[in-house]
Symmetry: C2
Subunit: 205 residues, 2 copies
């Protein structure tokens, strides 16, 4: 590589460091050869679990894919649903629940809603039209044992090879974490609710 005569020592050190780093990066990229649909899990108590799943939806849509969304628990109308409606039938959206369980206070109804959502999820995952299926707050349904984790993990493991699935919600069960390709724990470092800031459109929904 040609080095301009005016290059300072510091710039030269930077260049050499970055050349080494690029070589490492290139080698690492070359070592990855597998292409497959991923099972992604977003868990933890911090903000960003569902939000990152909807960001993934944008990526898949941008590459021409279709996206299925099943909301297991939440029912509040959300900005992301309104926004994604602009993509027409490239996004299919099902909301199962009638709110979190401390809203309904009726376990039998919640369990039936989760079972219905899971049936919808299975249908979407079978349809080759979809590149990504988001199972939003499925972890909550699993945590309350509204759905058996063994059945859910077995179905996810048997899905078609090129389908990405993103599962969100706190307290992901160990069996799901074990089965996943990618697990991110959205760890709360600091939260505005603690400073008395209320739920706001565009941020929480």
């Amino acid at each position: 590589m040609t080095t301009p005569e005016t290059e300072t020592d510091e710039a030269a050190r930077h260049r050499v460091k970055m050349e080494k780093r690029k070589a490492l990066q290139d080698a690492e990229i070359a070592s990855k050869t597998v292409e497959k649909g991923l099972l992604l899990v977003h868990t933890g108590t911090g903000k960003g679990k569902s939000t990152a799943a909807f960001g993934l939806a944008l990526r898949v849509l941008g590459h021409g894919g279709r996206v299925g969304v099943v909301q297991f628990i939440k029912s509040r109308p959300t900005g992301e649903k309104t926004a994604l409606a602009v993509f027409g039938d490239r996004v299919v959206w099902h909301t199962a629940g009638e709110g979190f369980t401390w809203e309904t206070q009726d376990k039998a109804r919640d369990m039936a809603a989760c079972r219905g959502a899971w049936d919808t999820a299975k249908a979407l995952m079978t349809d080759p039209a979809f590149g990504l299926v988001i199972l939003d707050e499925l972890n909550i349904a699993l945590r309350y044992d509204y759905l058996p984790v063994e059945e859910v993990v077995a179905t996810l493991a048997a899905r078609r090879r090129d389908l990405h699935v993103a599962v969100t919600g706190r307290n992901a069960k160990p069996a799901l974490v074990e089965a996943a390709d990618l697990v991110t724990d959205m760890t709360m470092v600091k939260h505005h609710f603690k400073a008395g800031v209320k739920t706001q459109a565009g941020i929480e929904y």
Copy 2:
């Protein structure tokens, strides 16, 4: 509350537990009264930092807002950019960098690119048309001291009161964390790259 005579003991216990939980939730929600634009920071080594910022963009767009995006480092064409183009001029997108620094190996050029990106960011933040400005990978520019953190934090602190700003990237500087309303550390629990899976459209970009 009326209790059906057929309610089982377990269902009754569940209902009481959830009633208590709902009361706590309601009290907590009532205690939050502040409405303000938030400074959100997504950091950590896990996946989901930029993705969650673009998910926020969807929320803001769904509520009728406009979104500005400044990419400080990355330059690869991304699915989210293509997808967000469907919203026309409601999304303004600037990409400053010519790739990560280990691609360019030219510190002076990288610094100039970051300065240009920051000037664009400041212009977007001044424009009342925007509800959210995403400063993607700004943390990387700060980490390499391509921009002075004091200047950046002071500008962010002085922004208009109703503007949300999301800053992404690993290694968020302590001064930025201190200034932020919400900080999430996307903590890597498990990553598919370690299993030899390559970078894929719809997942990484």
